[in-house]
Structures are given as C-alpha cells and as structure tokens.
Amino acid sequence: MTANRKDLVCGLVFIVIGLLFALGTRDLDMGTATRMGPGYFPIVLAGLLILVGAIIAVRALGKPAGESFGEVPWRAFFLIIPALVFFGFAVRQVGLMPAVFIVALASSFSSTKMTVPLALTLSAVLACFCALVFVVGLGLPIQLFGPWVRFW
C-alpha cells in the first residue's frame, strides 16, 4: 500500500492537534446551543480539524509516495531556537546589547557560509544598531546592560 507521505503526515498532524485541543476542553462547560459555554465552540472546531485531517490522510492513501520530506536543518534548529529562548530568558538580566549580540552570533552560524570574523562584526554592529534604534530612538524600556554584566 502506497500513500502520499506528505499528505498522510499532514493529515495525522492535524488529527493529533485536534485531539489535543479536544482534550483541553475536558474541564470546560459546554453549555447549550442557546447559551454556549466556553467549551462549545472549541470542541466544534476541534472536531472539524480532526475531520478535515482525516479526509486529508485518507485521500493520501493509495497515491504515489510523492516527493520526500527533504532534509531537516538541524544545525539551524539547534542554534536559532535556543537563541530565541535565551533572549527571552536573559534579556532582562544581561541587557539589550549583550542579548542581541549573543542571539545574532549564535544564529548566524546556522548558515554554513558564515565565517567567524563576519559573525563577530555583524553581531556587534547589530547590537549597537538595535541599541540606537530601539532604546535611544524609540525609547523601549530595556536596559542596555543588565545587572549580570554590570560590573561598575
């Protein structure tokens, strides 16, 4: 039995998401059609998503496999995603300039074409530019250097 891989996976993903949302409505009051509770509309939507997901998956069956999923950019995943999380976690402690510098430096190496000098220059320029634009220019209430890196 063959199946279009992408469509099959896609349908299954939607079914799983629909089920998760349906599970999330367990503690919510359904109400009645006249006075809908907080759970009414979400459970309808979850059902609809599961249904559409199932149709997508079933229609994928029996079709030729189609193009493969392709490669996963692991390197980018392991650099960019933690960089974003780091920014959220640490921006208040280290301040805007160090946070931008680290985010830019880490994520820039997800490109294989990046060189160390270029990445360092780029990140430094970005940190200064963001400080100027967002804090000096637009007055965002973020410290340039936070308590963790302030030694003076």
């Binding site: 006075r35 997508i56 980018a76 830019a104 990046m114 270029l118 970005l126």
Partner: protein, 504 residues
Amino acid sequence: MDLLSNLALGLATAGAPENIFYCFLGVLLGTLVGVLPGLGPTATTAMLLPITFVLPPTPALIMLAGIYYGAQYGGSTTAILINLPGESSSAVTSIDGYQMARQGRAGQALAAAAIGSFFAGTVATFVIAILAPPLTDIALKFGPPEYFSLVVLGLVCSVALAHGSVLKAIAMIVLGLMLGLVGTDIYTGAPRFTLDRLELADGINFVAVAAGVFGIAEILRNMEGEKTREPIVTKVLSLMPTREDFKRMVGPILRGTALGSALGVLPGGGAILASFASYTLEKKISPRQSEFGKGAIEGVAGPESANNAGAQTSFIPMLTLGIPANPVMALMIGAMIIQGIVPGPNVAREQPELFWGIIASMWLGNLMLVILNLPLIGIWVRLLRVPYHTLFPAIIAFASIGVYSVNSNAFDLYAIALFGIVGWLLLKLDCEPAPLLLGFVLGPLLEEHLRRAMILSRGDPTIFINFSERPISATLLTLSAIALVIVFLPNVARKRKEVFVEED
C-alpha cells in the same frame, strides 16, 4: 461636500509634520526590507510591526500602512531586477519585468511599475474615500448574525485564494481559529487552553505567531541545504521610458487600476488575484501577444497597477468592517487592538482623524514611493546584492526585540520559537501560513458573534439563513457556500492548480 471635507480632515492629519515623518519612515523601511530577496510584504510588516507600538495610534497605523505599500513596491523592484519575487502578488511582474531587465530595459520596467503604482494608488485612495462611508453605515446596522456570516465569507474566500490544497487551507484556518481562542473566555472568565500559564490568560501573543510563522519558519526553511544563489543583478541604464513605451502603458494602467480596485476589496488576498487577472487580460487583448513573456511593458504596467490598487482597496473591509482581507490587514487589525482601538465601523465615527488620516496618508505615501524609488534606485540595486547569510541574523534579532517589546515578557520569546518550529513543519507539509493568521485574528470575533446570535435566536441556528428576517446574513452565507462548491468543482480545481503552479 462630505467627501471633500473628510479628505481635507485626512490631509490635515496626515500632513502634520509628525505623521509625514512616520509615513516617510514607514515607506522607507518597508522598501528597504521589502527589496531584500525573499521577504514579501507580510513578512516585512510582521517584522516591523512591533516598532510602531511605541507610537500613538494614528502615526503608528500610518507608518504601518507605509511599511505595507513600501514593501509591496520594494518586492516589485526585486522581481524585476533579479527575478525573485518576495510574495505571489509580484510574481506576475517578474515574468515580463525580468525579461525587460535582461534586455537592458530594467529602468523602463521600473518606471512603468512606479508610474502605474502611483496612478493606481491615487485612484484607489479616492475609491476608499468614496466607498468607506456608505459601507460603514451598512456595517453599523450589522447584528451578530451578519458579522458571523461576513467572517465566514472572508475565511472561505481566503481558502479559495490560498495556494495548493483547499483541504489543507481549511485545516489551517480551523487551526488558526482555535489558536485564537486560547486565553480567558470573555463571557465566563474561564481560562481556555492556557496550560495554567498566567502569560496565556490574554491569549497567545499575536506578534509571536506572525513573526514565528512568517519570519522564523521561513529562515529555517532557507537553511535547508543552503543553495548558493548569488543573484545576478541586472544593471539599470536609463529610467526614462520612450514615447512608444508610454503609449503602450496607458491602457494597461487604466485597466489594471480598475481591476485591482474592484478585486482588492474581496477578502482573501485580492491583490494576488488582481495582478493575475490583469496579466491575463492584457495578454488576451494585446495585439502583440507574442511579446508577452519576452519583455512586454504591458505585462509590467498592468499587473503592477492592479497589484497596488488592490493592496490599497484591501483596506476597505479592514477599515469599515474590521475584517482583514489578507494577512497584512490581519496584522493591521492586531496592531489596532494592541493600540486599544476596536476595529470596525465605529472607528470612522469615533476617530475620524485616525480614519481619514490613514486614507490620506496612503496617497502621500504613494507619492513618497515614487520620489524615493526612481532617483534612489542605485541604492536599492546595491541592497539586492546583500547575501542572505548576513541578513537573517538581523531578522532574528529584530524579531526577538519586537516580540519582547509588546509585553516585556520572556514567555513570548518561547512562543515565537515554538511557532517558528510549527510554521516550518507546516511549510514542509505544503500548508500555507496565511489562512492560519487570518483564522487567528478572526477566531475570537467569530465565536463572539456566534454566541451572541444564538442567544438572540434562542438557540435556533436558522437565524443565519433566514432570508426574510436576516437577508444580509443569508446572502453572505449563500455566497460562501457557492464559493466553497466552486473551488471543489473538478474543473476549477484543475485550473487553480495551473494558476498557482505558474507562479512558482
């Protein structure tokens, strides 16, 4: 006359030095980012959106509008010069525009695009000024059932105009609607899907969804087996079109403007449809059919006018009804809500300066675009040579600051990371992100009006389709049903495939 006094009010607002400055800044930034290869208007607007939050509502929305048409215009420059359109609406331009560029006529193609866009933008501004007040009046009479049906129609249209599989687009909309429901239920105060996180009580941060799905996901995708795509940037020799060029441009510009103004109002991405329709029309009626695809100036002037007119008139449903016609308008609505403005017909009534100021600023913005783009083309050409790997760290840095600036909370950064991954996965599965964003914005609206309508009718669902009592709602739902049936017709399905394949 009302129209004139309204426009005068708008010009007075938009002409205030502060607003002119932010309009200019928006247009400049929009062009600057939009011209970069692979960044379309949606991604550009999503990324620059947070910058506007520090401003008061009027300059913020004026700047945002400027970013949008600046990005739209910048995308056309990229399409013409290096054949890498950032978004599907400028894909048509690249067909003949790039051919013209290869023949050394890049300047003329750019000029045609600029002149066409400016003319279309001017006309479309008037169309908005004329149509907006009566539409607002109609919208004020809308009750919950009408609003519900209107939102349904908008969502169905965006399905019809999405690329690829209709089923996947529907699934994306439903997913977007559900994500939009996360947060506190407005009627009962019950927390929904908040996973016991306090940060989710007000819902998922809209900017995190938009920047994650459009910005981060796209970057992850571009990092897959990075191809060396050193773009070949063609030289711009002279900008001045010949007299022959002018003669050939007039018709397409006029027809493109008319088509674009009409189709732009449609929910679901009118600008894309408009540029395709204009190209098809020009090709059909031109005596020089054989030149199309080989550098016909009509193929640039027509679609560019249509595209810009459509981009402009897509503000109509957003401004009058609070319903977004495309993802960028969804971003505008998100911005309004963050600014504390309730989008909808009351904006025109309660905040006429804001309403007419935005409209008038569009015309000013279009004027600035022409001034910015033609003389400064050398700068944009140089920007096109910026390689991607020096660009994307900046995008990530801006997105991080932008998302953080909305609520100053760390959780939103975890959200953008998550939506980056989810967006990438969905892109890999050939699911378009645009319907998801529309659904996300419209989810709360849809539920609210559904619940109110059902209370109104005491639980009788026929309130939506009762022609004698609720003719508007019934008509809107009938239209939605027809649109849905049409996209599933085998003939149309095949045609759809062809159209959307052509643009890739």
